[in-house]
């Protein structure tokens, strides 16, 4: 497995030979920041294209076909269109908060995005309570949604924001609990350690039953956290037109849209990291030949492959089910997911204590 830290260290050395350490770190930060933004935008475009194609296939349609081969340039055109649209501020909005809200959401997803271990040695933020940081950072997003709904001076928006607040805060609980279950199994909160701990089997296999339950719960809660169907009622178009982002146009709306898809990717990527071994190839103990072949596939391919697989699962869910009602969403969380994940956490603790995992 190729270790990217060789490359990053080499760049670091090279920069040190040119400038003092403070400057070198500054330049590296800027470079990494730009890299993340570029990757972020690229992923969003790929995800939106994927969503349109996958949803079309589920619905007996073809999806975009016109612009570029198989419609592949469609999303880029949409981005250009969105960039050139007039930014319209409705009357009576709280200007400061109204303009701040999309950035709050972006900030949250950037911070979370930076935690993702894309390949060996390519972790941007990696420290001993990484998972903890990740959970904390991802929950900033709800502030942005609440601000957007509140500041828009629109009754639909405020209802959407309130729904979203209730929903995201609730589902954070079970999502966090599902991840904690896996932390118990992995025995570490540092993301890089967690991934390298899975070299002899991904956690979803080593943790068997409780890991599987945690995975399902995490998928459901993750879907709810990104406000995607069947949990898309903060922006339920048949009820609230567009919910909290009704009053945004141009890139203001674009940021919400971008963040929605990136949050989808982040949820999938966290699932890939925590349950499916991150960039770690598929290793079957005993089959050394097979394991070596697997090792030749670069880590980031594994990582994105797994993440997109989870993304596909979530799209499949989204395009199959009708939307829930607000009381049903809360009932599902508090009556089913929270108790089950608590019991599951306990079960995992017992299994780990008794050493019943693989």
């Amino acid at each position: 497995m190729f270790d990217f830290s060789i490359v990053t260290n080499w760049i670091h050395e090279w920069l040190l030979s040119l400038m003092p350490e403070g400057w070198a770190i500054f330049v590296e930060c800027v470079a990494v920041g730009i890299g993340i933004i570029l990757l972020y935008a690229l992923l969003a475009i790929i995800l939106i294209y994927m969503e349109r194609k996958v949803c079309a296939a589920f619905q007996c349609r073809l999806g975009p076909t016109r612009v570029g081969p198989w419609g592949s340039i469609q999303v880029i055109c949409d981005v250009l269109k969105m960039l050139t649209k007039e930014i319209f501020t409705p009357k009576g909005v709280d200007k400061k908060l109204y303009n701040l809200a999309p950035y709050m959401i972006l900030l949250a997803s950037f911070l979370t995005f930076a935690c993702l271990p894309i390949s060996k040695g390519l972790e941007v933020l990696d420290f001993n309570v990484g998972i903890f940081f990740l959970l904390a950072a991802s929950s900033i997003g709800v502030v942005g949604i609440l601000l957007a709904g509140w500041s828009s001076n629109n009754k639909f928006s405020i209802i959407g924001a309130m729904r979203s607040g209730a929903q995201i805060i609730s589902y954070e609980l079970s999502a966090g609990m599902a991840i904690l279950t896996m932390v118990v199994l992995a025995g570490t909160m540092q993301i890089s350690d967690m991934v390298s701990g899975q070299s002899n089997g991904w956690l979803i296999f080593t943790g068997h039953i409780p890991a599987l339950i945690a995975f399902v719960i995490y998928l459901i809660a993750g879907n709810a956290e990104c406000n995607r169907g069947p949990f898309d009622l903060p922006e339920a178009e048949s009820e609230l037109t567009a919910g909290y982002h009704t009053e945004y146009s141009g890139m203001g709306f674009g940021f919400f849209y971008l963040a929605e898809y990136l949050n989808l990717f982040i949820v999938a990527a966290i699932a890939a990291t925590v349950f499916l071994g991150g960039w770690m190839p598929l290793h079957i103990p005993g089959l050394d030949g097979f394991n070596t072949v697997m090792d030749y596939i670069p880590g980031f391919v594994w990582y994105f492959g797994k993440a997109f697989f989870v993304v596909f699962l979530m799209m499949w869910m989204r395009w199959s089910f009708p939307r829930l009602r607000i009381d049903q969403i809360l009932a599902l969380e508090w009556k089913y997911l929270v108790p089950i994940s608590m019991v599951n956490l306990l079960l995992m603790a017992i299994i780990v204590t008794l050493g019943w995992h693989f």
Partner: protein, 531 residues
């Protein structure tokens, strides 16, 4: 279908109507039509109706007896009649319609506002002496929403007193659902007062697609009026157009051939399937199941292709004529229909898999928006909505027309009255429609497809009311003729107006999401409400 007609003077209307309701058990108000019979003339006989008035068509759901009641007042300055909406809740919106078009004030009506036209409209357009274009230029101002309504009462001395009633208090959280809203299925507007997520009260605003079809009909010849029926309820075009044809044929005393009757029945059922599939698709879309929506549209396409091949149109079908049909069945018709039946059976199973059985759909639909049988009758909510509440109101069974007397099908009746029952009625009716088509498709009798008609059709003097079961309820036509080549009055009993009237009743205390489910399962179509 001729029925007993009663003339009741306005003074004793309330007493007599109460008797009819309570003694004769006339619990279903089929239709309420405003009329302007003009001012008295010298050569009037005792029977001639004059003045501004209302025609009520009543039916008893227990005995099946039907009666037509007419009343009128000669006062054209301040015409007023007693309101009957405390006897039949379904009278509330039609009485507002009559007020809107004829200016007849209904005393003791809780909400005497215009229904379709703008608040600043001058005059009452369906009065024979009114020229709506003269006083109503195209107004470039926005219509202000007025939060007060009026209640009129008769004072001791016979004059009217008016009290204002506030619809919404200032502190209420009122949101507009519509007129531009994905879930209202057209340009309908609900003003909903919310308490958190729960709906406190709903005020319906109609008229955003009002085209004055009833007014236009008064200056069109009979064949020309037909062209507008496809534009009422566009998902029942194959039912409302033959209905008007049948009404005119009945007035003319023309009997169409067996072939035409069978063709009309098959087309009617194809249209019903089309409408019910669209119902399924739109309900799914409203509830967030976008995929199921497209499955519905995929299958509807097949039906539209069949219709287009024979009739040349998909939505505006334009097929029936007075005394027959426009063109004979296409040679491919029988083959295609026979292919369609197994195809639909297979795909309806898919609908059940993806939506009916889904736990989310079930929990959202079951137990929400329960309409009792009594309320369904009182509101006149016919069609699938009425049958879901246990009211066997299918006109095809009550008053068979076309070829319905010779086919065997089951009237689907559920008793729950909730959204899920309304949904299941529609899906089960698709199966029954397929059965009807199966029985007829192999034995379409030979015969002429068009009776010989005069070049200019004039109807004898008189009035007729006939009804058919359209895709979403009883669609009736009230036709009054004075012997001219165009009708004196042609009123359509809207299938959707009673359905919209029950929305407020059903959504009290429900959530916003329930409003969507309730609206979706009531299955109203706005052009048919606004006409």
């Amino acid at each position: 279908m001729n029925q007993e007609t009663l003339y009741i003077a306005p003074e004793e209307l309330l007493v007599k109507m109460k008797q009819l309701k309570e003694v004769e058990k006339m619990d279903y108000l089929r239709s309420l039509t405003g009329m302007d019979w003009g001012t008295p003339e010298e050569n009037d006989t005792q029977e001639t109706m004059r003045g501004l008035g209302v025609v009520y068509h009543l039916e008893s759901t227990s005995t099946g007896k039907r009666i037509c009641v007419k009343t009128s007042t000669l006062d054209r300055e301040h015409p007023h009649l007693p309101s009957v909406c405390h006897l039949w809740k379904g009278a509330e919106l039609p009485e507002r319609e009559v007020y809107d078009f004829f200016g007849i004030i209904f005393t003791d009506h809780p909400d005497m506002r215009r229904l379709f036209l703008r608040e600043d409209w001058v005059g009452f357009p369906l009065r024979k002496d009114n020229n709506p274009e003269k006083e109503n230029p195209l107004r470039m101002t926005n219509e202000e929403t007025i939060d007060t309504t009026h209640i009129y009462k008769v004072k001791e001395d016979g004059s009217l007193s008016c009290t204002d009633r506030k619809l919404f208090e200032n502190e209420e959280y009122v949101i507009n659902i519509g007129p531009q809203h994905p879930a209202t299925h057209g340009v309908l507007r609900f003003r909903a007062s919310l308490v958190g997520e729960e709906i406190n009260k709903i005020d319906v605003h109609c008229g955003y697609i009002h085209r004055g079809i009833e007014k236009m009909n008064e200056s069109l010849t009979y064949p020309q009026t037909l062209a507008l029926t496809d534009r009422l309820d566009y998902l029942s075009a194959m039912q409302s157009r033959p209905e008007l044809c049948m009404c005119i044929e009945q007035a003319l005393g023309v009997e169409v051939s067996d072939r035409v009757k069978v063709i009309r029945t098959i087309m009617d059922e194809l249209q019903r399937i089309d409408s019910h599939i669209l119902f399924f698709a739109c309900l799914c879309q409203d509830m967030g199941a976008t995929t199921a929506f497209l499955y519905g549209f995929r299958d509807r396409e097949k039906i539209l292709d069949i219709l287009e091949e024979t009739c040349g149109g998909r939505l505006i079908i334009n097929y029936n004529t007075i005394g027959g049909v426009q063109a004979d069945l296409h040679p491919n018709f029988v083959k295609r229909v026979k292919e369609l039946i197994p195809y639909l059976r297979k795909n309806i199973q898919e609908y059940h898999d993806i939506f009916t059985g889904n736990v989310i759909a079930q929990t959202r639909l079951k137990g929400t928006g329960v309409l009792s049988r009594e309320d369904a009758i009182a509101f006149g909510a016919t069609g699938g909505t009425g049958r879901a509440s246990g009211w066997a109101c299918d006109v095809r069974k009550r008053l068979p027309y076309a070829a319905y007397d010779r086919v065997d099908f089951k009237e689907i009746v559920y008793t729950e009255g909730d959204c899920f029952a309304r949904y299941m009625v529609r899906l089960d009716e698709i199966e029954q429609s397929l059965r009807i088509i199966e029985q007829l498709i192999d034995n379409i009798p030979e015969g002429s497809i068009q009776e010989k008609m005069k070049p200019i059709i004039r109807l004898p003097e008189g009035s007729w009311y006939t009804a058919v079961e359209s895709s979403r309820g009883e669609f009736g036509v009230y036709l009054e003729s004075r012997g001219d080549k165009s009708p004196y009055r042609l009123h359509y009993r809207s299938t959707g107006l009673p359905l919209v009237a029950v929305v407020d009743h059903l959504t009290r205390g429900a959530k916003i999401a329930d409003l969507i489910a309730i609206g979706g399962t009531l299955d109203y179509i706005v052009p048919d409400i606004d006409r």
